[in-house]
Amino acid sequence: MIIQLKNISKIINNRIIVNNLSFTMRAGHCFGLLGPNGAGKTTTINMILGLITPSSGQLTVFDMQQPRHGSKIRKKIGVVSQEDNLDPDFSVFENLIMHGRYFRLAKDQIVDQANSLLASMELLKHKDLKPLQLSGGMRRRLSIARALMNTPELIVLDEPTTGLDPQVRHLIWERLRELRNQGTSILLTTHYMEEAERLCDELMILDQGIAIESGTPRELINQHIEPHVFELDKSAAQTHSLKNTASQRIEMIGDTVYIYTTQSHLVRQHLDALSDDQQIHYLHRPANLEDVFLKITGRDLDE
């Protein structure tokens, strides 16, 4: 086991931030911590890194106690923090060099590693710029390159693609998949269900410090949600007074109506029939984790 949490809690100023959390993460896996803002994802990561001491519970990483062996454990981990904290006083290249020194790597190894990571993150031609001269996407790529300087066994990424455009997001996903294929373990937090679904072997959904569900993305979807979803506008749904029936379950969140079903053809026929007198716009898509989250918490993830 790479990471093992047993009944971990963290209380700050009399508030329970993480509540009795237990999970294990296997080597070579991509494990996703999923949850809205304030769920306790970053706090959990900081406990795993040994930067925050749990109020109670047992925590081991690489079979070593945390936070006691923090330094030794962090030697084998690469970290991409939630906010960019690149060193603004150094160029792109120097950022990687300095980071390699913190890990006490050999000098020539540092330079080779920095160059090859800059190439793989498509940053070579920006190597002499300062972080503030880079776009958000480039900075995030540099943060990931930096986290890989020590060729970590485990890479921890805290919301690595939040606020990035789709192109950068896909490049990052691509690199993460490559890493996992090479055997690197990945711990990821995100509030993008799509990201979790694409990358993670296993997930845990956190809400207000509590683990509310866990399993593989498929398991979670199959367990909680009908496979097909139709989304339509609230006003359209109201005029046709859609109802729950044996073949459809209706949820209304915000201005959107969601129809969940196992028999998509029945719902589709029904909607198409209604459309005869007035056009209804609807979206038919496979169920995803967002729907699972919605169902479990009754809330939208971005709220």
Partner: protein
Amino acid sequence: MSLLDSINHFSYGAFCIWQRNILVWKKLIGPALMLHFGEPLIYLFGLGYGIGQLVGDINGISYVSFLATGIIASSAMTTASLEGTYSVFTRMVPQQTYKAILTTPIKIEQIIAGEFLWCANKALFSSTAILIIATLLGLVESWQALWVFPIILISSIAFAAPAIIVAALSPSYDYFNYYFTLAVTPMFILCGVFYPISSMPSAMQIAVQFLPLTHTVELVRPLMLGQDVQNTFYHIAILLVYAGAGTILAMHIARKKFRL
């Protein structure tokens, strides 16, 4: 891990932080040298020769020599204090430099130790600059002036420690005003840099014994003027108490700030 390994491991981390800072400093070496050489020159020419005309000699020493010895001591204080507050705070809070470094094997104690090293290093730069100027102006009397360096080293730690504590406790840069107005500036004016403390009322003379700069001045001045140092161990002891207690406290406060 043996003790030697632990020491080696610890100092490597501190060395990295020192190295980080000196690499950044080297990028701005022009402005840095301007400050190190320009400021003391203005003091020595402006105050030393200007006021020196009016003051005459102090205990048989020209005023400009008297002032030069004081300014070496006070520059150690100002350099360590500015670096320990403004620069350390910048890395600690707005730049999040420490946060990034703490995800590596380096620990907060090593970062703070590295910052101490760097503050001392920078204080030595500025003292060296002034010593060079003073020597060129013929104000240094003997080779014993080289003993100034270890004194500046201890003093700069004594000044860096409270400065780093202030940086770790302040919510923003504005709070440094308290420290500079209540501690640094009074020391600058009262601790014998510009005039002998013996010219102050006796209550004040006793009060300034509690301030580290007084002791730096009392050590540095005779060393540069080729005189015998009085009460050497007393002065060194006070500086060591500030440096030692300050370091322990600074480590403790930084640990609390960064380890929840």
